[in-house]
Amino acid sequence: MGVSAGGIAPLQGVDAGQSPAREPVIVSKNLTIGYKLHRERKLLTALKDINLTIYKGEFVCLLGPSGCGKTTFINAISGLVPPWEGSIEVDGRPVTGPGPDRGMVFQDYALMPWRTVESNVRMPFEFQDLKLSKAQIDERVARYLELVELTGFEKSFPYELSGGMKQRVGIARALATEPKILLADEPFAAIDAMTREAMQSELERFVTKTRQTVVFITHSIDEAITLGDRIVVISRRPGRIKEVIDVNLPRPRFDQELKSLPEYAEIREHIWRLVKDEALSGAHGDD
């Protein structure tokens, strides 16, 4: 399990108090991944020896400096990048490629600019056969557009929408196939601060409704604490797990004065101490 390297777990201890009923969904064992740097003829290790188990219905935030391999980890779960060493399993099977059981939200939205909002949300149903009738797909698309409050914008093109609205299309697209796992790669990083808070609370609402397992990348400590059940702190490249922190704050978190709770300050202080050196030395982050 994701026991931290040398970290003394301050709160409840890593993995302490878990009920035996918890069902593992994503299991990463000694996962090491990197990239080929063609120009320099080098292999670059992005992630090293990641051991982490993510359980059903859990909201896990990956927190770390730019270029620490967070995206690589999520790409490994989605099946975009194969492991070099070790293994990554979803539902007990090794990941060999993308599948409808995993949906993803991208930092730059990654909406097809030539498709309408509705057509973007429909895209996953066109590329993979989910054994749904045309009417069922229509209903799904309409339902998830309604969930993200974009009813009435079906025929709009992405360039006609604001950043927040674009990302809501991205979220609807990821949720519409009703995947077990929702992967999110800094989805709110490019969205202005006020909209971001609203989007965070909406995301909490969506996944509470759908009971999905969420793996969420962020480089914001506050975002990690307000959203995550557990926070995985990753070190600078090559990325290793520094510590896994449980966040036992009550939900729904956006209904309360979360930031005034003493626990909040305590976790924040602890994480800040963990990432301070990383963040300061990471001023030259290349990601």
Partner: protein, 294 residues
């Protein structure tokens, strides 16, 4: 909202409105916004032709070199409407030369698209094809096509075939290079998104790379039209017995400056209309690109 508005219009509203109205002043930009660039252009061009007319009539420049605007338009109108037999004065058959040139240009452009679009897409999609074809494409693209005209005349003589070959060679490279660049610059995150949502290799080309490349292809064709028009005029000037290029040459030989200017004006009109046509198509096909350009 509504409540605030009604409050404002109650006590202080009138004052606010007065302020707003007072702040409006008419400036040149307001006129532009109001009457639109179209009317400004109409006025602008009318002034241009009037000044031209007056200048030509003043006799400052010999009319052999600079005809009057009215004379030019008269010749153009007569040449486009008068269907005199080809044996009559050359000014009587601009329309025949125009259709000849446009026909060859269209044939050449269609051939250039049929060759250029698949070639560019393949080069962008397959790095082996790219490596093999790349040097030839760059070499031929950078060679001034006029330099090839004597060679083609040697090969094919003063034929339509020679002219069309030159048009194709002029137009095909911008099309190839744009299609190629479109494929190469397809946003990685769009491809990643398509993959995550189940797209296979074929889906990615069909549903991501191709739609992304389409506007590039259109602007390639747009550049191809410009180059093709140069090609066709050069081919006709060098060796031909028909077409607008030939007509320019003949007009110069016979000191018929009104005809010469009429043909030049027609070339401008043809070129602008074709470019307008492709940008209209682009707006239709890829409205999202318009936004990126602004």
């Amino acid at each position: 909202m509504a409540k605030i508005d009604s409050n404002a219009s109650g006590s202080k509203g009138a004052f606010d409105d007065a302020d707003r109205i007072r702040s409006m002043k008419f400036s040149l930009t307001d006129m532009l916004d109001r009457y639109g660039p179209v009317w400004v252009t109409v006025v602008n061009l009318t002034c241009f032709f009037i000044i031209w007319e007056l200048f030509a009539r003043s006799g400052a420049i010999n009319q052999i070199f600079l005809p009057t605007a009215s004379g030019m338009f008269g010749t153009m109108f007569e040449g486009l409407t008068n269907s005199a037999p080809p044996t009559a004065a050359y000014s009587g058959q601009i329309i025949d030369h125009l259709t000849y040139t446009l026909r060859n240009l269209s044939i050449g452009l269609v051939i250039a698209c049929v060759i250029g679009i698949p070639a560019g897409l393949l080069m962008g999609g397959n790095k082996y094809i790219e490596t093999i074809l790349g040097p030839y494409v760059w070499a031929l693209a950078s060679l001034p096509r006029i330099a090839l005209v004597p060679l083609f005349i040697l090969f094919m003589g003063f034929t339509v075939k020679m002219q069309i070959t030159i048009i194709v060679l002029s137009a095909v490279f911008p099309i190839i290079i744009n299609a190629w660049a479109g494929v190469k610059t397809t946003e990685k995150s769009l491809i990643a998104a398509a993959k995550v949502f189940g797209a296979k290799e074929r889906d990615i080309y069909l549903h991501v790379v191709f739609p992304y490349t389409l506007p590039f292809i259109i602007s390639g064709v747009q550049q191809g039209i410009g180059r093709g028009l140069i090609g066709v005029v050069i081919a006709e000037i060098f060796g031909g017995s028909m077409g607008l290029g030939f007509l320019i040459n003949r007009a110069a030989d016979t000191f018929n400056s009104e005809l010469m200017y009429a043909v030049l004006m027609l070339l401008v009109i043809v070129s602008l209309s074709l470019i307008k046509l492709t940008s209209t198509i682009e707006k239709r096909v890829a409205p999202w690109r318009q936004q990126l350009k602004m």
